[in-house]
């Protein structure tokens, strides 16, 4: 499966706050399903209800926006892929933030959604620009590692290995992992515990 992600363009949506966890992104009651369908409507649902229409995801000026601009340690907490799935089903195609929790980052990458980092001042400036002009066109470029909002340009970062998987369209690792099955068997055969612990023979 090849699906290159070199740039993401559209409009931005700022979500201010540090340590926004996966329980807030998608409350646990939305996890009670055997598919990821329909998760979009549950995105930030409790925060949105509490803010009575004032949450960025409900504010009219940000409807249709596809680039989420967050602060520090976004996506901390559970390993539930439901969180990035909910955001993706809402229509978000890329995230920019000061930092991301690692499992959340890994889940996003596995789904083809780049999470880019920028320093605190830059993120603040991006959030300010988008709030001032929600219709501004935003482009995240993974080749030049820049984000552009109208005339403002700033550097963004992402690990080189991850960046290359987006640019080459190989972010979906499953195919590559499966292709190495014989090498996987060789590696496993060298591990002593494979010999003494047969789980299936219970």
């Amino acid at each position: 499966m090849v699906s290159e992600v070199k740039t993401v363009s559209g409009r931005g949506i700022p979500l201010v706050g540090n340590d926004i966890d996966t329980d807030r992104i998608i409350p646990a009651r939305y996890l009670k399903a055997v598919t990821f369908d329909g998760l979009g409507e549950g995105a930030f649902i409790d925060d949105r209800t509490a803010l009575k229409g004032e949450h960025p995801f409900d504010q009219p000026q940000y409807q249709g926006a596809n680039i989420l601009i967050v602060n520090r340690n976004f996506g901390c907490g559970s390993s539930r892929e439901h969180a990035p799935q909910a955001i993706a089903k809402w229509g978000i195609q890329a995230l920019i933030g000061e930092s991301f929790a690692e499992i959340f980052f890994g889940n996003c990458v596995a789904m083809g959604i780049p999470c880019l980092t920028a320093d605190a001042a830059t993120v603040k400036q991006l959030q300010k620009l988008v709030a001032a002009n929600p219709q501004a066109s935003v482009t995240v470029n993974l080749e030049t590692l820049q984000v552009q909002i109208d005339n403002y340009t700033a550097p963004v970062a992402i690990g080189e290995g991850t960046r290359s998987t987006f640019i080459s369209g190989t972010w979906d690792a499953c195919g590559q992992l499966v292709a190495n099955a014989s090498q996987v068997r060789k590696t496993s055969a060298k591990l002593p515990y494979i010999g003494w612990g047969n789980i299936a023979a219970s």
């Binding site: 539930r80 499953c174 992992l177």
Partner: protein, 467 residues
């Protein structure tokens, strides 16, 4: 760059190769699955026409959605019933061992794998649940993963990962009476921050961890993820081996001696190099309670909710949010905070030793009027063991409800939920907004003994007064 640590050795032994992306393809020795994060992974597998490559290295149980009162099938909640059926079908179709309700070995995935002896030193372990870091207590490298990665492990028994840095967290000395493993990890997270561990695996070392039993070490490693670390571990030692010996899947006979020799060889070298080292003194740790909405917002039971100016500037925004949400004010002593619900259980603190410590507090006393207090064993085996010891009677006589095993109110994907603004004393691992089933419900994290104390006093209290 770390060198000679257990993490480095296990990483190298499990490396299949380097992928074109530069990421490492890492072999996973044990894959644990449950009903919440696996159905979509099996669906993805089917879509791609892939098979489970090593079904004999995957083990399943059901925990998150399990009711802890009436477990009769079909479950009253049809969505929960649909999830357990999906798991039953997926395991059957793919020849995967499944510890279902009533098997005698069902329970929270991070409780049953160690008690079955599936979790062993030197292994790589993955599970679609962030608290997989628990298994690091055995000197395993254990990662919580998302559903696409569950698919990857099912299809290839491997993950694409980039290597972590290793931070040694050394805690030395004896813990004071009334101070437990939970307090140690809450103290570490409070000090290093909830994102302090991002990019790291945590090696827990020092005499305090050496003196801990396996269940205490599991509590610490369980919450490594709450400090932002992808995994946490303790080097295996005699305590580890004594715990494992004789368990269902532990090596037997001549294999046992070979295993111990290998386990000894994968420990961190005496002269191992770390990317970072942090040292704590056990004597400085007191019974700890969280007051806010992240596990890093903790204080000693005799301290007060911090003033914004006592906090780093970057932590003030979420502190303001926490004051509002928790309805606590800066400078307010946490001791004396009235409680509605007391929950003892979860993958952090639902093991037999946790129940024993809580029962010591509950014995001969009674839950305060108006408090709902309940105890949820982490597994069918823990429940059985507790009942053999009479702990169920102690709890029930004290006014606690005694339940069936499951994740219960830790994340409330089952009927156990806070109602409205209720505030709970919980032995679980997360105090996030809405975590325990009510979008306005509030959670104070603490040790099981402290939860039992809160239940008896009806308010946050110092366990040391009841020892």
């Amino acid at each position: 760059m770390s060198k000679g640590t257990l993490f480095d050795k296990v990483w190298d032994l499990h490396t299949v190769g380097t992928l074109p992306s530069g990421l490492t393809q890492l072999f996973i020795g044990l894959h644990l699955i449950h009903e919440v994060t696996s159905p979509q992974a099996f669906a993805m597998l089917r879509e791609r026409g892939l098979k489970v490559l090593f079904p004999e290295r995957t083990v399943a149980t059901v925990d998150h959605i399990v009711p802890t009162e009436n477990q009769a099938r079909p479950f009253v909640d049809s969505l929960a019933e649909e999830m357990i059926q999906a798991l039953e079908n997926n395991c059957q179709e793919n020849n995967i061992t499944f510890y279902n309700i009533g098997s005698g070995s069902q329970g929270i995935v991070h409780v049953i794998a160690p008690e079955l002896g599936l979790t062993q030193p030197g292994m790589t372990i993955a599970c679609g649940d962030s608290h997989t870091s628990s298994h690091g207590a055995f000197g395993a490298i254990a990662f919580g993963i998302g559903t696409s990665q569950v698919r990857d492990v099912l299809a290839s028994q491997t993950l694409a990962l980039s290597k972590l840095k290793v931070r040694k967290i050394e805690v030395n000395g004896n813990l004071n009476p009334g101070v437990y493993a939970k307090d140690v990890i809450l103290h570490i997270i409070r000090t290093l921050g909830v994102k302090g561990g991002v990019g790291y695996g945590y090696e827990f070392a020092g005499t305090t961890f050496e003196q801990m039993n396996m269940e205490e070490r599991m509590t610490v490693c369980n919450m490594a993820i709450e400090g932002g670390a992808r995994c946490g571990y303790v080097n295996p030692d005699r305590v580890t081996y004594d715990y494992l010996k004789g368990r269902d899947f532990a090596p037997k006979g001549a294999d046992w001696d070979k295993a111990v020799a290998w386990w000894d060889s994968i420990k961190s070298d005496v002269d191992a190099q770390y990317d970072d080292v942090v040292v704590f003194d056990a004597a400085e740790i007191s019974p700890t309670v969280t007051w806010g909405i992240t596990p890093g917002q903790g204080i000693g039971v005799n301290q007060s909710v911090p003033q914004p100016e006592e906090l780093l500037e970057e932590d003030r925004f979420i502190a303001e949010e926490a004051y509002r949400y928790m309805d606590l004010y800066p400078g307010q002593p946490i001791k004396g905070t009235k409680i509605d619900v007391c929950f003892i259980g979860s993958c952090t603190n639902g093991r037999i030793s946790d129940l024993r410590e809580a029962a010591k507090i509950a014995k001969g006393r009674h839950v305060a009027e108006g408090i709902k207090a309940f105890v949820v064993p982490g597994s069918e085996r823990v429940k059985q063991e507790a009942e053999t010891e009479g702990l169920d009677k102690i709890f029930q006589e004290a006014g606690f409800e005694w339940r069936e095993p499951g994740c219960s109110m830790c994340l409330a994907m089952n009927p156990d939920k806070l109602q409205g603004r209720q505030i709970s004393a919980s032995s679980s691992n997360r105090n996030f907004k809405g975590r325990q089933g009510s979008s306005s419900g509030r959670t104070l994290l603490m040790s099981p003994a402290m939860v039992a104390t809160a239940a008896i006093k009806g308010e946050v209290s110092d366990v040391r007064e009841l020892l």
